[in-house]
Symmetry: C2
């Protein structure tokens, strides 16, 4: 009936099968949040109202400055194509072409910023945020366009084409040449496509799956509704409870407030990630028969922050590696310095994208991102495997997303009397 | 730069590595509960006070009825040994022996119940609960003792020994005989040992590991403190908030109240499981050099309720299977009927163990356990694998533990004016 044996939970038993514990965690998480959810509804009632969100988008009566701003961008696109065409036909020397390209890109970045800061009374925050994101993506795309075209041109003129170009030329036959691709149609396809890196012949799918499109569209509608729900029902009451901005709060109030915001903010970011990186980009890709759907890696399994940053936004990571990191290496910069440069640039870009539309310059996002990379550098040796992954999740919970939230929190507090900002 | 590929989260990618999500769940769970914990402290202050618990144990001045009750049990033990000795020496016929054994066991069960119900004013609830559990375990052990000894006797008299006895005789040589084991020392070793099933030669370990003993002791001290903390800090305020018993509550109040109690109650049970089944039983086994430490299986991975019930308490499961299930099968009962009988008996025992000390007979535990087995029967075909495991966890969250909690809740409400019951 009995025999000598150890208990399963003793370390001597070498038992390691705890898969049931995962189910337990999920159930406990769902139940706890269901409870909080119910308590929230009992306390505040039903606060979700989509009309309030739509009102946020409407700006300055029927005169939509952000729409005009986005329409103007076509001028820069046309300029970029013209510069390329002239260079290809030999009207412009390489040097003049380079100066014109740099000028075009500089204006692309400065123009929307200037408009937003100048027209701050008539342009809405959501409108200016969207148009600034639009212009930033456009800048990155046009930069890639010029860069890749110059590689091809150099390959045509001499035979000193860069490694990237040669790689691409080794692909399948029956493909179009550099010269044939300098058309408005090709350029606009690239600008619409869910990628930041230009290439002559994008991989294409054969058909548009209507079912797939419909699923992505449904996901988008549901997730947007869910995000609005979280913002209005969960984050709204927390923010309304606070009476002053984070810059004026004392430390305990700050910590208490941030702790309350961590969970809803985190859910918001997870949904936003899925909405943008999966539903939205896949929808666009399916519409355009764009074949490469690698918009994100398995960042949820990342063991360290470096892996996380390189996996969570593949199009941006590809752009940085192709047009920033590798050119820096070719200029004999050490790899870790090149990495740091890329990271500092992306941190500055994040800060820029939030600070300009809200017109508050606090450097919080930039500082937190730089701090995080320091922390990752020091703790990366101690935390590996599952612990490293836990660190990554903690950095995601308490890192840049919460910095973004503090910006919006303070904006809300400062503009409380503005009726359109009732969450 | 690009190639045709699917997004990881598309079902077409066949990507299944989500191990990072487990870490996320654990972190979210810890953070959410840390937040609730902090809120609880801010709201109620520090309520944990071990002295209140110790006061619960002290009963009737310096006259401890439950201690006397436990000491009296030695009479029944001596009686059991005498009956066996007389039977072995041929003083008693098989039939008379059987009648005496049955009488001894019946008194073992009735006597403590009668004392508790009769002396209800002087005996404390905790004392009567402990002594009733003690007597129940003793009854099961003595039953096993008589049963096994009768197998050996039958093996000695004729050659018709049961299968269990033969199995045990096939073990290693150099072991003691049935006749030599009928001593007080052997009987008390079995009664102290962490098992319910008697056997002539228990597997033994060679040494007592002092380190192991110390670790288990430390675990016990910490876990008891933790349980007291959860009860006083988390459950206490919830129960104090309610004004009437569950029998008198309306349905919404009942559900709201139960939902609040589910999480702390569940944690309490998980800690209680570890405390009793791992720390406590391993401590006793190490002290007694008892070799078989299989006190629980991996019930956390159980896919269905049947597996859960057979894994979570191995000593009781072994006893049921050896002395109840298999004898019933030998009497040509169908396996599923034998199973049902065993389950109904254990449900009745659970109800008995809680209802008698609290002196409230509501059948809630019994009903919920029977309902659960019905649910398991109907849903077992649909929920398998991880979903089955999830069902098991849900049954554990909302099943018998919460029924036990309702008993204690109502007892507290009914005895509010009794000053010793301030949680």
């Amino acid at each position: 009936c009995h025999k000598v044996q150890d208990s399963l939970l003793s370390s001597a038993s070498r038992f390691t099968d705890y898969r049931g514990i995962f189910n337990w965690c999920v159930i406990m998480l769902v139940l706890t949040h269901a409870h909080l959810f119910l308590e929230n509804f009992i306390q505040h009632g039903f606060l979700v109202d989509l009309r309030k969100v739509l009102r946020l988008l409407v700006e300055d009566g029927y005169n939509w400055p952000s729409v005009y701003l986005i329409l103007v961008s076509n001028v820069f696109v046309a300029t970029a194509l013209l510069i390329e065409k002239w260079q290809e036909q030999g009207f412009l020397s390489q040097r003049t072409g380079w100066v014109l390209e740099a000028g075009n890109l500089l204006v692309l970045m400065v123009f929307p910023t200037a408009v937003i800061l100048h027209k701050s009374t008539s342009i809405s925050v959501v409108g200016s945020l969207l148009s600034l994101c639009f212009y930033t993506v456009l800048t990155l795309k046009i930069y890639s366009y010029h860069d890749v075209n110059s590689w091809y041109r150099q390959g045509q003129v001499g035979n000193s084409g860069s490694a990237e170009m040669k790689e691409e030329q080794e692909d399948c036959p029956g493909r179009r040449e550099y010269r044939d691709c300098l058309t408005l149609k090709d350029l606009y396809y690239f600008l619409m496509a869910p990628t930041l890196c230009y290439q002559l012949n994008f991989p294409r799918t054969r058909t548009i799956r209507k079912n797939f499109l419909f699923q992505r569209l449904l996901e988008m509608l549901i997730l947007i509704q869910l995000m609005v729900g979280i913002a209005q029902q969960w984050i709204g009451p927390i923010i309304q409870r606070s009476e002053c901005t984070f810059t004026n709060m004392d430390t305990t109030a700050k910590i208490e407030h941030l702790m309350e915001l961590v969970a809803p903010n985190h859910f918001l970011w997870l949904i936003l990630f899925y909405l943008l990186s999966h539903s939205c980009l896949n929808f666009i890709a399916e519409l355009l028969c764009f074949g490469d759907r690698e918009f994100y890696g398995d960042w949820w399994n990342a063991d360290n922050l470096k892996a996380f940053w390189s996996k969570w936004n593949i199009p941006f990571h590809k752009w940085c590696s192709r047009h920033l990191y590798r050119p820096l290496l070719r200029r004999r910069l050490a790899p870790q310095h090149a990495e740091l440069t890329v990271f500092v640039m992306s941190a500055a870009m994040c800060e820029f994208l939030i600070a300009v539309p809200l017109q508050m310059f606090r450097l919080w996002i930039f500082i937190i991102m730089i701090l995080e990379i320091k922390v990752a550098y020091f703790l990366g040796h101690y935390f590996t495997g599952n612990y490293g992954n836990g660190m990554v999740w903690l950095c995601m919970l308490l890192g840049p997303p919460i910095a973004v939230m503090t910006y919006f929190h303070d904006y809300y507090i400062l503009n409380k009397e503005n009726s359109s900002w009732t969450l």
